[in-house]
Amino acid sequence: MNAVNRVPDSERMAATVAAQAYQKAGQQQFREDVIVGGAPYVIADAVTPHEIFHTLDIPVISLPWYSAIISAKQLSPYYFGLMDQLGYHDGLPRYGSLPFMTTLDNDPERAPYGGLPKPLMILERLRGDFGQKIGEQWARAFGGVPLVALDSSAQTALGKNWSGRNQHGWEELYEPHRLDFQVEQLKSVIALAEGLSHRTLDPVEFRAVMHRVNQAGEQVERAKRIIARTRPAPVSLPEQLTNIMAATWNRGTQWAVDHLTAYCDELEARAAKGIGACPNERIRLLWGNNGLWFNTGFYRAFEEKYGATFVWSMYSNFFSDGYRKYFGEDEDPLRALAARHISMNEQLHLPGWMAEWIIEQARDYQVDAAVMLVPIGDRMSSFGTRICQLALEKAGIPTLALTASMVDARLWDNDAMIRKVEQFIEDRVLP
């Protein structure tokens, strides 16, 4: 059975309500402009340069965002059943394939927001081995749209302290030959997007978009400082996710900067008044790896009984640590954009970088223990979790690994998972 705990509107932060309203309005706008009006939009993988399309004022549907929506609406079992029927075996990646299945299903009544119409292009970054395989079939299912597959060069050396070098020292960190290549790829994307949309990328606006992403990231860093130092934490993890992810998917907009500023102001006010998401907070937990999108209520299931609350997941401040790329007024913002996505996978899912960053976050947020999701059906996201778990334990942070799908509710036994975490808290965390 699956539990989805809805927090009453009256108990949510004003910022959370505002973020949800903004997203709802955005969905309505998408429906009017794109689905009814036929305006162009782009389907894009998460680690692709959405900033180009934000500058061109072309809406972007992010693959993980749409996957998470499908999952949150409890539709994943239906689409995974369809996948089986069509001959795609049950071991294939789940996270990125849900949106593709909505197109093959071709039932706008069922798909969130009426399904996705034919996009201007599908934009992929070839991190794993299968992105182009899904992309080619998806482009064909739309009746033929361009598949833009950004090739993924590999970091040859993983130095220490990526999060400390990533914002200003990115030229050296990400290796110049890789950045040269990525810049050329981005130029190709811009040329194609301009040609297909008959719009022109305004360099002044593009530079402003890139600055605004940094400004928004600064607010996320501010939120981190507030949450990390304040006990009880002034916001729950699900509300953190709503606020941060809404800004992430709308990065580069003034709304994202203003929203995150208002979110931080409200966090400070709550901290000053001693308002906590879990008033009886006694144990701080860290959620390692991808989010549990179909059941974010799980993050709060241990508050009442143990005073145990999740205060961090990788979405809490990847926007601040991973996205920000500073550049001077005489420097090319396109190179900074190239640096943004070039090694995100390594930061989040490679043994060395992943473990180093998560341990740093655990210390900053004063966490007592970690729960690490080991995704099944999306093995790329599972790589590195074993070494990360060893590294956390070595750093003195008890860690529990939970093996589960990020999006497939069929494979989740909520009661059993709650029992596992409770046992872990009782055996290894409680004083």
């Binding site: 090739d151 993983l158 093995r379 979790t385």
Partner: protein, 383 residues
Amino acid sequence: MTGDEALATLRAAYDDRLGEAKRRKAAGSTLIAYFLNSVPIELIVAAGLDPIRLAGDPGRRAAIADRYMEDYMDGEVRSIFGSILTGAFDFADLLVIPRSSEVYLQLYYFLREMPEWEPDAKIPPTYLFDLLQAPHWLSARYDVGRMRAFAERLAVLGGQSLTEDALRDAIRLVNRLRRALQDVAALWRGGDPALDGVDALKLIGAASVLPPTEAIAAIEAILADPPGPLGRAGPRIMLKGSPQSDPHVTRLIVEAGGVVVAQDHVAGDPTFRALVAEDGNPWEALATHYQRHIPGPRVHPQSEQDAHFIALAKEARVDGVIFFHDEWDDTLGWEYPDQRALLEAEGIASVFMKRQPYFDPPITEQGATIRNFVASLTRETVQ
């Protein structure tokens, strides 16, 4: 060398790669060990060094690897990781890991992490060959740069700069090996095969274990003095999918009465399908070859790969195809529905063996599935 002696040499090299490597190391070779089919051995040869392709072994599993690496990693990569950590590949002067598959890229990063966790492990120096395979001009240009960087590293090991003349000579030599393989393939793909599927797999594999000159000599000896027809009349089978790093599945097909006439995976027939262009700029020729014309999970568009697959099935006049996918496959399964449909359009039967474990394979179940499939083809042939 008689044909039989040559075949024995090739079988021995395949069966004991590590013994072969140690033999050459003892004889003074500077051994450049590599994985998969996407490392340009032409560069290694041109640098005056000795290339040897290594692979996983289902019989070689190390607990130390399981301590660090997730169960979801390909079994072959886990086997290789364990072999490296336990010193089984310590003869290598350089281990070259190509970025032509995500799990091998992960292997590289896992190895980079190991000195912190296993300071006593004797891990040979590793080198990531960052080959990109999107069908783009930009990727080809990037690959030329990576080829030149790789050549510089090899030049340090070889003690001499790699010249363009040496590279052209190496391209011609390795093309000669590919041509020899194309010719000898008639012995398993032809009308009345003279080599069974197990020998074919071993011969193809051994061609990248032995030094190119020795492999060419052995294959040419077989061509000059070929074995007689096997005289087997069973259904003609193609084995397709995950790389076969040991012959047990092929053997099961043979034991079931099938005649394995083609192996469509990165350790099979497609490895010698295309030659490197011998005219023009050798760097660009090499980059284009390894970017576009070798088999691999990242090579696309899929329609081109599928056209090669169907062409091979037709050339080998197969009656049936066995799709065999690794337990943790997250890639080949996306191709399967289209490929099954292509076979159906050609009137070729197929069976799908999905999610097959690398270690401790369920031989009895695998054998039963294969026997049933071969029997169904036999009935069709009789009717």
